[in-house]
């Protein structure tokens, strides 16, 4: 059985869906960050797969930059998280509602 591009894309989609579930479901901010990592990684798989099956390096380049962005996001996000935690002593999403319109 030959593994084609579609397999990878389906896998990527499944992982993305899991990430979405996590993003929507989790109330712990830290775990929310984890879920976003899943989202980013699932897309990375798709990039790499497409890059492979079309023999084009652009996909890999994109995946590469996605990783860079993910890393910076973690750095800044964690910093903010720590500040928030210091101030409020929790990282529960439901307690944050200062943006209520």
């Amino acid at each position: 059985m030959e593994i084609g591009l579609s397999h990878y894309l389906v896998l990527s989609t499944i992982l993305f869906a899991i990430g979405l579930v996590g993003v929507m479901k989790r109330k712990n901010l830290l775990l929310l960050f984890f879920s976003t990592e899943i989202l980013l990684n699932s897309v990375n798989i798709a990039f790499a797969a497409i890059s492979h099956y079309y023999g084009d390096l652009t996909g890999q380049m994109f995946a590469f930059f996605v990783i860079a962005i993910a890393a910076s996001e973690v750095a800044v996000g964690l910093g903010l998280l720590i500040v928030w935690h210091k101030r409020h002593n929790n990282i529960d999403l439901d307690t944050m509602s200062s943006m209520k319109g």
């Binding site: 479901k25 590469f64 910076s72 964690l78």
Partner: protein, 191 residues
């Protein structure tokens, strides 16, 4: 054949790891499962011949990001569970599934596969790392540099944000003390 087995194996592993991440109540479990999932993903990269990307995945994610999370978690009281009030599960799962199905529909449509032509074709006989290096430092030089600057900025930001008043724990102080602190600061600014 080998490729198929590897694909399904790692697919199963990744999915189950990530499933644990989004379901478990324990932050530590989630962290561990995420790290494992990242490593398994790098396996796909290797299968796909993107050796360099796979290596970066392991180093950056499993090495740097996970370590960062681990350090971050030390600031939080992980034993204290965050109470996760759950809304309608059906909506969450339903929406996710629906979007997944739609994406699959779109990517499997014949129209997608016809229009793609390689911009930077993979050259046979040259190692993946070398190819990546060539493309990265020619065509993508500016984005690369921008990404580098962005990382630097993120690093500075992380340090500043997390390192503010390391000696004080605002959570352990009561309101009066915080007010005093603020007033002191204001006075300093005024003078």
């Amino acid at each position: 054949m080998f490729e198929a087995i590897a694909f399904y194996l790692f697919a199963f592993l990744t999915i189950s790891m990530f499933y644990i991440v989004v379901t478990t109540q324990q932050a530590l479990y989630a962290l561990t499962a995420l790290a494992a999932g990242m490593i398994f993903i790098s396996a796909f990269f290797f299968i796909l011949g993107a050796d360099f990307l796979g290596a970066v995945q392991i180093i950056v994610y499993t090495g740097a990001v996970m370590a960062l999370y681990a350090f971050g978690m030390m600031f939080f009281d992980t034993t204290r569970d965050v109470k996760e009030k759950q809304g309608n599960k059906f909506i969450i799962v339903g929406l996710s599934t629906l979007s997944a199905v739609l994406v699959v529909l779109i990517v499997s449509a014949p129209i997608v596969s016809d229009n793609i032509v390689a911009l930077y074709p993979v050259v046979d006989g040259i190692g993946n790392t070398q190819e990546v290096g060539v493309v990265l430092f020619t065509k993508y030089l500016i984005p690369f540099e921008v990404a580098a600057v962005m990382l630097l900025v993120a690093m500075v930001a992380g340090i500043v944000l997390a390192g503010k008043k390391m000696d004080l724990s605002l959570t352990l102080m009561n309101d009066a003390e915080i007010r005093e602190l603020n007033e002191e600061k204001n006075k300093k600014e005024l003078s």
